[in-house]
Amino acid sequence: MWSLESLAYAVVHIGLVMYAVFGGADFGGGIWTALAWGPRAKEQRSDLFHAIGPVWETNHVWLIFVVVTLFTAFPKGFAALFTVLLVPLVLALVGINFRGAAFAFRNFGRATGGQIPFLVSTFAVASLLTPFALGITLTATASGKILWAGGQVQAAPLFWVEPFTLMGGVIAIAVCAYLTPIFMTLRSEGALQGDFRRQGMLAGAVLGVLTAAEIPVALACAPLFAARLLSWRGAFFVVLAAGMGTAALVLLWKNRFLAAQLAGSGTVALTLTGFAAAMYPDLLIGQLTLAEAAAPRATLSAFLGICLVGVFVLVPSLWFLYRTFRGEPNSQIPP
């Protein structure tokens, strides 16, 4: 369990959880920009827009961190994944580019009048496309349809288009849409806070239903993954995630917003950890283990050393960033 490759996998996992929680909330901002309704829809959109500004680039770096960790620590697995999952990964890139560009063009540009609705809709569509494509990519590794034999990777051309992976894409969208309103309850007041609270509870219910529904879909499409998910190790995290998700809903209902934010983030982290627990010790389920995909020991220990140094730089910097831009979403107004 404490082998070097397991520690490196833990780094990948932490990077994924951070990307899902922080980057996910930014994509959720785009999703709720499209979904905002009611008398305060305009204020909701404005708050979401302001909240994303200072943090989205930092949060986006987690994705690069995950990709780099994969090719450093698990080069064979990285090569296999990026060979067979070319199409969803290209779709994710297209989404990432248009999301980033649309946001930056609106924030820093001189966009006026007719350009803003266009940029906003580009931003919203791209915020749906990216998590969908990345969700497909992640669940595809659990589908059992990527084959590894004699150092070669094989998969049918459109193997990633099936109920199990498409549901994975939809769940990734739901994760993003779930976190944003919960985070925003801490950064708004009055009626607007009530709007975000309701959105958070609604999204929490949707996420719960979708993840529960994925289990029977997995039984049909990805039996090995389903069996491992329902083994004691997987089931432990499934139960924890469900419990945490329920707690987040109750806390929102009781207006305990700080606790709800922690519970909501915990739900997402535990959901991903359940996925990872069912995958362990494989990178491609049933085909390629972490140990087989891993880089030599010298690389793994050097990489973990770099991470250790990096943490001492990263943690205080992140703390300073989130502390400076807490509270009131518009950075031109004090927190």
Binding site: P54, A79, G109, A298, T299, S331, Q332
Partner: protein
């Protein structure tokens, strides 16, 4: 379209696009730090206003840099999975270090850009220090990976597989030091001249302002300090290439035949069929003198290496010449400006000086792009020199051509959008259209 050609074209276009934003991402933080530092030291708010006027273009360019950099990190796997499976354990480490540098850059740029109302002037200045350091560090780290492809190190090959890995030897591979110094300085030159050109254009349009004059002097000062260092580091690079990467040097200098007293060709078109350099200015014994100081020193030409292991000089020599010529195109106007600035300050802001600076302003980026092409074309046919050919590193996945098309469209859309937002509005928007325009919040 051929699989390898599609993959190479896509990687090349992606890098060529990203390099512009990456360069400005290294250069602009230094300018920010200097402007805020001067402002605090002299109590001159003009320099603070200058730095704040860069927030909007910096935000746009950094965002495009971040997303185009993501494309590259994915393309390593999408296009070159076999190369990455081989080299990931070695070149992954500089990329990991670069990842942490990205975090620091993104965090402190956000604090600087958005923090004006929440942080003190002193803290804003302090934020530009980790920003500039991380920006330079990210360049130095990622160049280690590029240098490794030119001079692979830190491993031995046993039975066709890598063994006995020494990741930090790979990191500090032989080509790293000179590449990192040369390219990081190039980023300061390129950014300095590009920014100076923006202000020269504004002054020529008659938009004289304290921001414009301060902006021009500061950016041109940075570029002018870095420019002579480019010559020194370039000389160091060439002399190192003469030891480490002889075929690349031969292609750069269009030297087909090994000879004592090798000539230096300025310009011209190398013709592999006749092994002649047509239309070139030939300086007898020039190359031997430049490389070793001895006019009769032996320099190995392309014929010293087995056929099929050397780069095509037609793709290397012209870009090398363009890079060197760019140096002189920049040096002239810069020296002219500072000479006048010292002797007759009012004349330095004359129309012809500004026009000359405007003309020279894109050549920092032109030199940087050509220098990068020299490095990459000069490494061919290898992806990791002597270890793996480009054709061996490419993906087994078919259908790269549609991906190439997709990203071409994407880059065109991004470029069009950026130009629309950054270039001065055509229909008389007046002062708001200068780079000194206010930071638009929403």
């Amino acid at each position: 379209m051929d699989q390898v050609l599609s993959a190479r074209a896509l990687m090349g276009i992606s890098l060529g696009f990203h390099i512009i934003y990456a360069t400005i991402g290294v250069g602009l933080p230094l300018l920010l730090m200097l402007a805020e530092g001067v402002s605090l030291a002299r109590g001159d708010d003009g320099y603070h206003d200058l730095a704040r006027s860069w927030v909007r273009p910096a935000g746009l360019l950094f965002a495009i840099g971040a997303v185009s950099g993501t494309i590259l990190s994915f393309e390593l796997g999408l296009l070159w999975p076999r190369f990455m499976a081989l080299s990931g354990p070695l070149i992954g480490l500089p990329f990991s270090m670069e990842g942490f540098a990205f975090f620091v850059e993104a965090i402190f740029l956000a604090l600087y850009s958005y923090g004006e109302k929440r942080l003190s002037r002193r803290v804003l200045f302090l934020c530009t220090i980790p920003l500039s350091v991380a920006a330079a560090a990210s360049a130095v780290f990622v160049i280690s990976a590029n240098a490794w492809m030119n001079t692979p190190a830190g491993f031995s090959v046993i039975n066709g597989a890598l063994a006995e890995l020494h990741p930090f030897e790979a990191f500090a591979n032989p080509a790293w030091a000179h590449e990192a110094v040369h390219a990081t300085l190039a980023a300061y030159v390129a950014t300095g001249f590009a920014v100076a050109g923006v202000y020269a254009a504004a002054l020529l349009r008659g938009e004289a302002s304290a921001v414009a004059t301060r902006g021009l002097t500061l950016s041109l000062a940075v570029a002018t300090v870095a420019l002579p260092l480019m010559l020194v580091s370039g000389d160091w690079s060439a002399k190192t290439l003469a030891v480490q990467q002889k075929p690349k040097l031969a292609a750069m200098e269009a030297l087909f035949r090994s000879e004592r007293g090798a000539p230096l060709f300025l310009g011209g078109w190398p013709d592999p069929a006749t092994r002649q350099v047509r239309y070139a200015v030939r300086i007898p014994k020039g190359l031997s003198v430049l490389l070793s100081g001895d006019p009769d020193a032996l320099v190995e030409g392309l014929d010293a290496f087995p056929a099929g292991t050397t780069p095509d000089p037609r793709l290397v020599h012209p870009f090398f010449d363009l890079m060197v010529a760019s140096f002189f195109i920049m040096m002239g106007p810069a020296l002219w400006f500072w000479w006048l600035f010292w002797r007759r300050p009012e004349a330095a802001w004359g129309t012809w000086t500004l026009r000359a600076l405007l003309l020279a302003s894109p050549f920092g980026l032109i030199a940087l792009e050509s220098g990068w092409l020299v490095t990459e074309f000069g490494r061919q046919p290898w992806v990791a020199r002597g270890m793996m050919r480009v054709t061996q590193g490419v993906t087994a996945q078919t259908g790269i051509a549609p991906v190439l098309f997709t990203f071409l469209v994407l880059y065109l859309v991004l470029t069009a959008g950026l130009l629309k937002l950054l270039l001065p509005a055509a229909k008389g928007k007046g002062a708001d259209a200068t780079p000194g325009g206010p930071h638009v919040e929403s």
